[in-house]
Symmetry: C2
Subunit: 196 residues, 2 copies
Amino acid sequence: MTKASNTRHTILQKAFDLIYKKGYQTTSIDEIIATTEVTKGAFYYHFKTKDEMGIAIINEIVKPTMQDAFIFPLQNASSPLEEIYRMTESLLFDTPFLKLEYGCPASNLTQEMTPWNEAFAQALNELILEWQTTIEKAIQKEIENGTVRSDINPKQVAYFVMSSYWGIRNFGKAYNDTDCYHAYLKELKQYLDQLK
Amino acid sequence: MTKASNTRHTILQKAFDLIYKKGYQTTSIDEIIATTEVTKGAFYYHFKTKDEMGIAIINEIVKPTMQDAFIFPLQNASSPLEEIYRMTESLLFDTPFLKLEYGCPASNLTQEMTPWNEAFAQALNELILEWQTTIEKAIQKEIENGTVRSDINPKQVAYFVMSSYWGIRNFGKAYNDTDCYHAYLKELKQYLDQLK
DNA sequence: ATAAAAACATACTAGTTAGTATGTTTTAAA
DNA sequence: TTTAAAACATACTAACTAGTATGTTTTTAT
């Protein structure tokens, strides 16, 4: 990695941290360059606007991280249904960069930006769709294996799994307590088992 | 209603509309007083700070609306399980002040404010807890009636129902399309039926 | 080694923000 | 009808915002 591309990546990483904690709109460029110890000139050399940086965060930070955390593991899983549960549990409890009080980065950005920023909506849609498709295919695989009932609709299950995950992360934020995570996981297990 | 309390209520209502669409942080007081045609003097006579207005919106606008929309109907329902489905469907498709592209007001505010504003967190917690308790009691009632399996855990179901609702509203925002609502509702019905 | 481009640095600007200071008008009780 | 408080109006401020203008330094190809 060259020095310049390292600067760029540092900005994206530190900006992501701030935005994950505080939201996109309320994280100022002055704040970003203060914590990265990069000057404004450097910042605007790498990014034409704040929004361009925001999109880059989605594509270059959030997307690869998400792919490593739950796209690839699920694609390679021998028991996809079990993997969905295991992965959810791991995301809620063991993923170090995800914090109870800050929720899910993709969900946060969707909520904040999507209604009025087309470019953010586009970038986030690609992200979400990839996740969704992976879950759908995982369920489809189970059906073909005969390990999930044939009357189950993979698309519906994908929406249900993802929605409930997004929702429970918002609950975690609200209560700032992992109790709801435990209750959610128990019910998720029930739900997934009943698909068999 | 006196003229003064009418002014106050107008501010809260119009401010809610703006905040629901654009978020709390990015809705400025100047914008609120412009759309309400109220002066800054009037605004700051009724509310000491912007945050005080925000809390008032939760308690005086969001809370009563939510109680009318899904607390009271569920408390009085003869078939609570069916009512949960019917209500969710109605919230997604028929409730006029809720818009696909803007998500769920309570969820939006939770996501935006909770991590760093204690007063918002407190007000929203009360709101959410009331919703949660109502669903729990509804399931409990079904169990006592023998219309829901006795091994079902009402608390877990409440979390699952609410989380999935919050999540799917975020999906609606992301895709700006009701297709995901339809898929979600079908799966919600499956899930609820299986509790019987 | 040199020149040109890439990468970064500093100082500034115009617009916006929540909130205040200091008024005037309206309401309602005596 | 007077008077005091409630309700509102106007003009301002200090801090912050994204972005720019105009530089200097570093890197890289020749």
